[in-house]
Amino acid sequence: MTHVLPPSNFKRWRVRIAVLSAVVVAGSAVTVNAIFAATAPPPPDLLSKGKAVTASSIEGGSFAANRAVDGDTGSRWSSAFQDPQWIQVDLGSDATISKVVLNWERAHAKDFTLQTSADGAKWATVATVADSRGGVETVDVSASGRYVKLHATKRSSQYGVSLWEFEVYGKAGAVSGPTTPPAPTGSSSAAQSTTAAPTTTTTTTSSAAPGTTTGSPTVPTQKPIPPNAVRVAEFVAECGFSHRLPDDPIVFPKLAGASHLHTFFGNTSTDAHSDTDSLMAADTKCNPVEDKTAYWTPTVLVDGQPVDPPTSTFYYLGEGVNDEVTKQIQPIPPGLRIIAGNAKATSAEGTRTRWDCNGANVAPSSDFVSCPAGAKLQSYLDFPQCWDGKNLDSADHKSHMAYPVHPGVCPPTHPVPLPKIRQVVNFPISGVDASRIKLSSGPGYTYHMDFMNGWPAAEMERRVRDCINRIVKCGHNGNP
């Protein structure tokens, strides 16, 4: 049973309840809405479609937050596999909000609140839902604001929370008697988001229930962070497929043809002879164009024939270590080589690669999975992020890097935290049985991704300082 509980101190709601008190059935939002419809003829508009949307996390590149507002019930936002999570939409201007329709994927939120805000910084809880059963869930609210946030505190399964669509209905435009604080104007906007809420006098008129705001970490000042910035340490590069070669400039430097077939992304010049200088002098298929990194994987073969993905997404993340360490993360040094995954794995055990399907619920596996027609085979792999601080490579090409240890810190042998690189690759492989898919390096669990740093030092430094250390989600351009 879904319980929709309007907050008790919701003045606007109370006023309407009072007017209609005789016929309102307590707790039945549908009844309330039906009465509104009778007394206030114009039906609400869908305000959220195609609007700017941000989220606490995404499971991968194909589960971007904007998939929840694209009007397509075949695409979805899906979060990382932990509590809590949130997704918020910027309606573009202040609006009266009458209902929120949540079209849940099977992995839904069990407990969540809906919050609104005029400025994206101070939030008022407008509905609290406990024990949701998912499905298509309509939550009637009476609120106003420019920003609407779903804050999920408890998941229904071990997976994340996922929405096919997140729809906000109401009427755009100015609202009389706002129930959420008005947006600060001008330059005060940025400043306000970085200062403590209690200094803002408007909070006294807010209907927000105490203790329901989502605790965004306080940020060191200086550089302004936009009020609607997502507080996830991240910048991203999307790098197109470039070419294939049986070369590997890390494992077999200058030994042309010594390797199994590799699929190269990003830098267009990568071959056995590549080094940092040659990469920096060449072209790239990355967005941003500043990223001249050479990235490569073993080539995926279907029935023995190469199948290349159009692009690979590289998330540079502050996660994997605790927030204090994230703030200390250093730029990836020029010339650094890193390999993720194990090309000579002999079993799925202990491998970090995850294969699943983008567009279908298939249990993730260390080995290839069979994706139904319409769903794409997808790989995820996280690079080790702790550096020994001395070596740009090592004889086994692994020893100079390590994964973090409990409690989210880098081990003493590898004390320098770097951004964690997460690669997400979608392959144009649908409706193909897993038994027909191989890698040039062997079974699916031998998947690996190599990284030969091609970021200009200044660009890397800027992104780490502005996005990772401050825990702000940045786009391809390295800006929030």
Binding site: G257, A258, S259, A272, D275, P333, K344, A395, S441
Partner: protein, 186 residues
Amino acid sequence: MRGLSAVVLLCLLAAGCVGTAEEAGPAGVSSAVSTPPSGELTPTDVAFVELAIPQNESALAAAQLTLKRSGSNPSLLALAQQVDSGYRAELERLNGVLTAAGLTRSDQHDGHDMPGMITALELEALDKAQGKAFDDQMGAAFRAHLQESLTVAQSELSAGTAKPVLELGADIERTRTELLGRLGAP
């Protein structure tokens, strides 16, 4: 028979001094990664030797399996005989180059399904083949190995620097060309 080839591989691994990465003396940040890890060997020389060793070992195991099949095609048996003796000598030289440079062999390619390697899994399948099928499949496996070995030797000759490694590269280039000629076209 299957057990035998596994034993051969194990023995080779044991004899091949499986070592650790740290001993290879990684380069410092300031001196960048192109610095020779040890002695006069460049990373290219080391990579070549470390690839040639497991390539040779895998072919040696395939040769052993072939020699157990007394009914095999005489020219295939002769090739296996030549590989058996020639590759053992090469392996000694390859391991000797690493030892002389103060390096212990890394096991990073052992058992790896790489071009030029005849893997334990392939040998298992070959062991089940009979008669002409065995000869054909083993011939194809040797051909693929020899071609890749030749490619890598030529890359070493064009990009390597250490004299003993270049000499090995030249010998490998010559012998693989000769063995490919002996094997004939597919």
